[in-house]
Subunit: 368 residues, 2 copies
């Protein structure tokens, strides 16, 4: 339950900082998810930022998990409906703030939070700062697809509602690095989300972005395949879909809503008659496999890209399975030195001048 | 096969003008869909704009359909990848142009086309002109939902990639009229698509639009329920979702892609083993009911709103079932005097001044 006991009983190689207070799933979901991950992976250690009175007793019941968890007591919490601006002013000393500080100070490699997305991004930018060359960080998710890995990468799904051509270029570069490491692809195929695949479609910033991304692909270890449509996000013809946070957020939530409607209608269909119930029984294993494939809890974890450090946003209503999926992703990225690799790619892009004359001047603070 | 023979054998009360040349499904899909609708509904008459050498022989094989179809020979066609600007310059005398002209001249009440969406909207605006008070026409679709009718209305899904607050207000007014007639709802609940339901979320034009729509709801026979997210589009908590054509198009195609992926995975799940195949057999009726519910062909038909006349865009790759669904919708709207009702609503909105000071000045030509 503290650093020394963790060192005594095991030797975690990757420390993950967990904001245990922000989500809707409560302490049970957090501790349950941590315990699931700990049981599967002996390399993970946790720095847990949560209420001692709640998490202390829960950890005592799980000695294995307790042995590699350092509980850092905190009582202040940022609520799910807190505005980002207020979180910035009053966030100091909250579980979210402290979870990010653990990454900033090098105690942990990755932070995981189920809290308020806007506040988490605002505090992440404040504590970890944007990586050199990045104006707007982005949130990337894994999206169920027809590709062999089962997933594509999509970003930005809601870090910011705006993105200009230069931001979209950075999203492509950062997202390609994520696809290389998260999906183990040597040369990800990058598409730019638009209302049609024809070159003349869409707003002018998309045309500028298309040109810039195509240029950067030459040295960027990715392939630019042009505009893609909403129906292509899950296709096997693309690995990474780049868009602004407004369209990306709407696409993501629309897909979640559609999958949930189809699941519900499917359930109704099987419950309709004794015959269909019998059918469901015979097909049970196959249906479970399908359910697993499209279960949003199993791909839980939006990755914040473009910061000096890795932050993972788990779904606010994640249960233990969802929290465990976010921790698994955090471990994978930490193990790969993901944050440094993204930074190296961005630096190389700036060095080769692909950001071009259209790049905005980042704030001075960000250059330092 | 011409006007006199139609009058001889039956007396259609609603004439639908069909552009038979633009789609990818070919003549078989068009004639097949017309025949399906004709068999079900004796009130429909068709004005068919297509190649005489192709459609003449096809009609001869279907005497019932032929008896209430006037074939108007045309050979020029606008291709699926034609740019709207070029379609405007060179569209005269094409099947699409002539199909719209039939509505303009009062020979038909509604036009149906499977052709190029951008060209169809451009030519519709040229031939039918925008309704008074409308800057940007919109495309509305029926979206599978948890509501009793099974559907919600969503607009704009791609008529234009831009929309300001005043355009979004008009979309709400026109869409509410569509929901009243298309879904038979007395007082549709209107939501504005955003990246979150909290009032502070999203771009400033969305905040302006929210205020304007709320004001207009007082006399507009609809209820404004606030911002909705992508996951709410299929919910039972809203009847009409208003958005700009960029986000709406991406949401629509993302939903189509997601539903298609889930269908494919479901098919794979049932084909996996002898047990699952047996399961599928037992659940066959129920699965067919589900398939019917989420089959995009059955809700085929985007309605162009904001023109002096009704135009329905059927999916480019629609088969006979899809074409027939578009014709059914065309009939329903024509029968209701839909176009006049939308115009009356817009006029009443302008009269009560809800468009407010923020409304842009429509072009002079549009006032005439």
């Amino acid at each position: 339950m503290n650093g020394s006991s963790a060192a005594d009983s095991s030797d975690p190689s990757v420390w993950i900082s967990v904001d245990a207070m922000g989500g809707e799933g409560g302490a049970t979901a957090i501790i349950g998810g941590m315990a699931m991950s700990a049981a599967k992976n002996p390399e993970i250690g946790f720095i847990l930022h949560g209420d001692e009175n709640v998490f202390g007793p829960l950890l005592q019941k799980k000695p294995e998990l307790s042995a590699r968890t350092r509980l850092k007591a905190v009582t202040k919490v940022i609520s799910m409906d807190e505005k980002p601006a207020r979180a910035l002013r009053q966030g100091k000393g909250t579980s979210m703030w402290n979870a990010l500080e653990s990454v900033e100070q090098g105690e942990a490699t990755v932070a995981v939070s189920c809290g308020n997305t806007g506040a988490l991004m605002a505090l992440s930018m404040l504590r970890l700062r944007r990586a050199p060359g990045v104006d707007r960080p982005a949130i990337a998710v894994l999206w169920p697809s027809r590709n062999p890995s089962g997933y594509n990468v999509v970003l930005d799904v809601g870090a910011d509602i705006r993105a200009d051509a230069s931001d979209l270029l950075k999203f492509a570069i950062m997202g390609a690095t994520y696809a290389r490491h998260g999906l183990e692809l040597k040369r990800p195929r990058v598409g730019l989300l638009n209302v049609g695949t024809e070159e003349h479609k869409g707003r002018s910033e998309l045309h500028d972005a298309a040109r810039m991304i195509e240029e950067a692909s030459v040295t960027g270890d990715f392939e630019y395949i042009g505009f893609v449509e909403g129906s292509d996000i899950s296709s096997a013809g693309v690995d990474l879909v780049v868009t602004d946070g407004f369209a990306g957020n709407i696409a993501l939530k629309t897909a979640e809503g559609t999958a949930s409607l189809v699941r519900e209608l499917l359930g109704n269909a099987f419950n309709h008659s004794p015959f269909s119930k019998l059918g469901a029984l015979f097909a049970l294993t196959s249906l479970r496999r399908l359910q697993k494939r499209i279960d949003p809890r199993r791909v839980n974890g939006g990755v914040f890209l473009g910061l000096n450090g890795t932050v993972i946003k788990s779904h606010g209503s994640a249960d233990a399975t969802g929290v465990s999926a976010a921790i698994k992703l955090a471990f994978k990225l930490a193990k790969n030195g993901f944050s440094d690799r993204v930074a190296a790619r961005l630096a190389s892009d700036i060095a080769t001048g692909h950001s071009g004359p259209e790049e905005k001047e980042p704030p001075e603070a960000n250059r330092a």
